[in-house]
Amino acid sequence: MPTSGTSMEIGFNQHISGQFNSDLEAIRSQMMEMGGLVERQVASAIDAITTGDTSPADEIIRREDDVDKMEVQIDRECTQILVRRQPAASDLRMVLAVSRVVRDLERIGDEATKIAVHALEVNGNSSGYCQQSIRYMGVEIGKMISGALDAFARCDVDGALDVVRNDKLVDQQYSAALRELITYMMEDPRSITQAINILWILRAIERIGDHARNISEQVIYVVSGADVRHSSISEMEEKAHKEDDE
């Protein structure tokens, strides 16, 4: 049986109840599986935008259903664990975190679908608005999602903090791209329809970054017990490392 990552720092890897161990392991691995799926959805969507090849878009919209089902499934298993095992401390945090992370993943999936839908709309007249930004942000959020999931798998607080920092960059890039779009629209009002589509795509990418950040915050919650939602980076670093001292 694989070693549970959260208990890495704890000297007691195994629960007395083996079933409890495998239950926890099951929701974690299913979450990772869902994470992988969502990651691929996002990557395909970004591809569709940047390459102008809209063929994966339909596939993305179809697989959106799978993501939703997985969210419901994992959430139900989390509820089961809460009811049957009354987990405490790190186990409790793990279950709560998984439940929150799957919600974020599902939202990411939604955003990916949105991107795919808009990709179909902009299809054909890829005028190249903000292509640079979209490509850059797409790469960044791809790294953020996989970074957040990796951090979760390894209970790596520093990795999680990196993701949070990256989110700042994505936000900055988003603001820059927004300004760029505004200039396009001011120059040529006919481009507004197209620009709005791009705007929606940028917005979706930015939201995905936020969700990846939320996932990273859950990593910190699982590992240190500190609730770092709605905190600044410096507060986060402080809280995340405070309880590593022991």
Binding site: I10, G11, F12, I16, F20, R85, Q86, A88, L92, E246
Partner: protein, 267 residues
């Protein structure tokens, strides 16, 4: 699981408004040391839960608080336990009035083989708290009411206490304890022999009693500790590992041993 020599208790073992203060308490059974330098405050009107695996010394520590360990010949206690800043192990301290101030409820409901009335009246009688039958009646009624048992037994006060159900017996024992009007109530796994509904009633009662009494409860059920206590103390192999507010202990315990115990990784 390695034991930490001279472990300093994590968390907040001291209280701002302590009722009982234990300082460097060491307990020996013959040659064997059962408790290692435990320092802990029990605050006034708080419920503190003592948890830990079997044989961790939590019951032993609890029984030190009203000197129930005196009855064990080979048991030796060092350090101080102060009740309102008065050392209960001082030579001039008499255990009889001490136990009237620090009452105890045991694991197994143990009513006397007497009537319900006599069970509750026993404490006030031996301590001479009442002088007339009327007063005694009043004390008995009040105690049974506080223990939430009055409505169930008011028609059969002179029926044997041992004829009640397990949960009722335990509430009778609590009524018997509070009839003496103690300041502190010690409970040694009071629900371990009871069904969930009786347990829920006792837990509800503990919550109500907190207004007037200071309560220390030893429990094997972590859910129970989480439900009834304000602070939780975790004992491990005779050491007090961690004391913290209960919500912290059960979400983010400071010590890895506490974590391992409450998540069910040993114990």
């Amino acid at each position: 699981m390695s034991i930490i020599e001279n472990h300093k208790t994590d968390g907040q073992p001291f209280s701002e408004n302590p009722k009982l203060k234990a300082r460097d308490v060491r307990v020996f059974y013959g040659e064997k040391q059962a408790i290692f330098d435990v320092s802990l405050d029990i605050g006034a009107n708080e419920v503190i839960a003592l948890i830990g695996p079997s044989g961790c010394g939590k019951s032993t520590f609890l029984r030190c608080l009203n000197r129930m360990n005196d009855t064990i010949d080979i048991c030796r206690i060092e350090g101080e336990i102060l009740l309102d800043d008065e050392n209960i192990y001082a030579p001039k301290m008499d255990v009889v009035p001490l136990r009237a101030r620090v009452g105890m409820v045991f694991q197994k409901p143990n009513p006397f083989p007497k009537s319900i009335y006599d069970n509750v009246a026993y404490g006030p009688r031996i301590h001479g708290l009442v002088h007339h039958r009327d007063e005694l009646d009043e004390v008995v009624e009040k105690s049974l009411q506080r223990a939430g048992l009055w409505n169930e037994v008011k028609d059969r006060l002179h029926a044997p206490g041992t004829g009640l159900s397990g949960g009722q017996q335990q509430r009778l024992c609590i009524a018997r304890t509070i009839a003496v009007d103690p300041e502190v109530i010690l409970m040694d796994e009071p629900c371990s022999a009871l069904d969930p509904i009786a347990t829920a009633k006792i837990e509800e009662l503990i919550d109500e009693l907190r207004e007037n009494y200071t309560i220390a409860i030893v429990t094997h059920s972590m859910q129970q500790a989480a439900r009834v206590s304000q602070r939780t103390a975790y004992f491990h192999l005779g050491q007090l590992i961690e004391v913290n507010p209960t919500d912290l202990v059960f979400t983010t315990p400071e010590h890895t041993l506490t974590e391992a115990y409450i998540t069910g990784r040993f114990g």
